[in-house]
Symmetry: C2
Subunit: 195 residues, 2 copies
């Protein structure tokens, strides 16, 4: 029991490192890159506020738990850019090794539980995973639109790539997918995103 508490604290101290994993998109003020910890908080807030727009009813607690842990593997594996084909080839293997180490800091039962939550998110099969994943796609799109296409221009991303990458939002929410398409169209119209 006491040993369990020490393991939990070791895990909670280790995951502080998520605050140093930088993403490709900037925070909305545009003055620095966003990190994974604040990104995760933002997704959890989106789930809280937007759950009513999911196509299917979702268990909010499950969505939140899944979101909270979904990027922890990036402490070891780093943030793999959505449009980096090569980086995405061995992404799952790198992340699986990270999951074993990081969740493995916890007491056995809790480690298994959180690792399974992460895997459920990755599989995108359950309604909760689909919704959580849709938010994870939508959030950087909002950031990029808001920051005048900053990341898209830096990496030469086209509207076709953005639409193809984000089409799965439709599996979770028609309303969010409609909104995503509006943002892409506006970004093209305003010259932030090449067609």
């Amino acid at each position: 029991m006491e040993d369990n508490f020490s393991k939990q604290m070791a895990f909670l101290i280790e995951i502080d490192k998520l605050k140093r994993v930088e993403r490709r998109a900037k925070i909305m003020s545009g003055d620095r890159l966003e990190n994974d910890a604040e990104h995760t908080w933002h997704l959890a807030m989106m789930a809280l506020v937007l759950q009513g727009h999911a196509n299917a009813e979702v268990d909010l607690l499950k969505v939140l738990r899944m979101l909270l842990v979904h990027d922890l593997v990036e402490i070891d594996a780093g943030d793999t850019f959505a449009y980096d084909t090569k980086g995405n080839e061995d992404k799952f293997e790198r992340e699986m090794n990270a999951a074993k180490r990081i969740f493995g800091l916890l007491p056995e039962e809790q480690a298994a539980e959180l690792k399974e939550l992460w895997l459920e998110f990755e599989r995108k099969e359950s309604q909760e995973a689909k919704f959580a994943s849709a938010l994870d796609r939508l959030q950087p799109l909002i950031h990029n639109h808001h920051n005048h296409g900053d990341t898209w221009q830096k990496y030469g991303i086209t509207s076709g790539q953005v639409l193809s990458r984000n089409r799965e939002i439709a599996d979770a929410s028609d309303r969010l997918w409609e909104y995503a398409q509006e943002l892409v169209q506006k970004s093209v119209d305003q010259g932030f995103l090449q067609e």
Copy 2:
């Protein structure tokens, strides 16, 4: 309905500002101050992992929802340092005005619901509020111990002040209060915190 969606998105964009509200404690690597958004994510992770140590059974979804919104008022009101007596005098008034403006961006029903969650957290009466608040006290203590008393030394804080400030952790969890006291004692022993 459509108008509601626009309001939700306006709220979700506005709260991105939480990522720029700096706290007094540094992240554990010690290289910069922590911000409220990443702090909030860390508290949510603590709730997920440590809920079994609460004295009373708590509704985890409620704890998480409460934690996710608990610092949003600081977008307008700023982070009031725990040991700043003067700043704490008008803290509630400043935060109530902030709550009205920020939650007020949401559709009416949702605004009322999230504002009530924030108030429940502030009141510290429900088991969920007590547990959420205990985590909010414990987390900077862990950070400060980990960073060799950085904030305590900078502001000349004593172990008596830290114990008095954090005593309410005991209302939520005997185990977490015991741990908090251990950290304070270790910090004194190691010369990070004056007695």
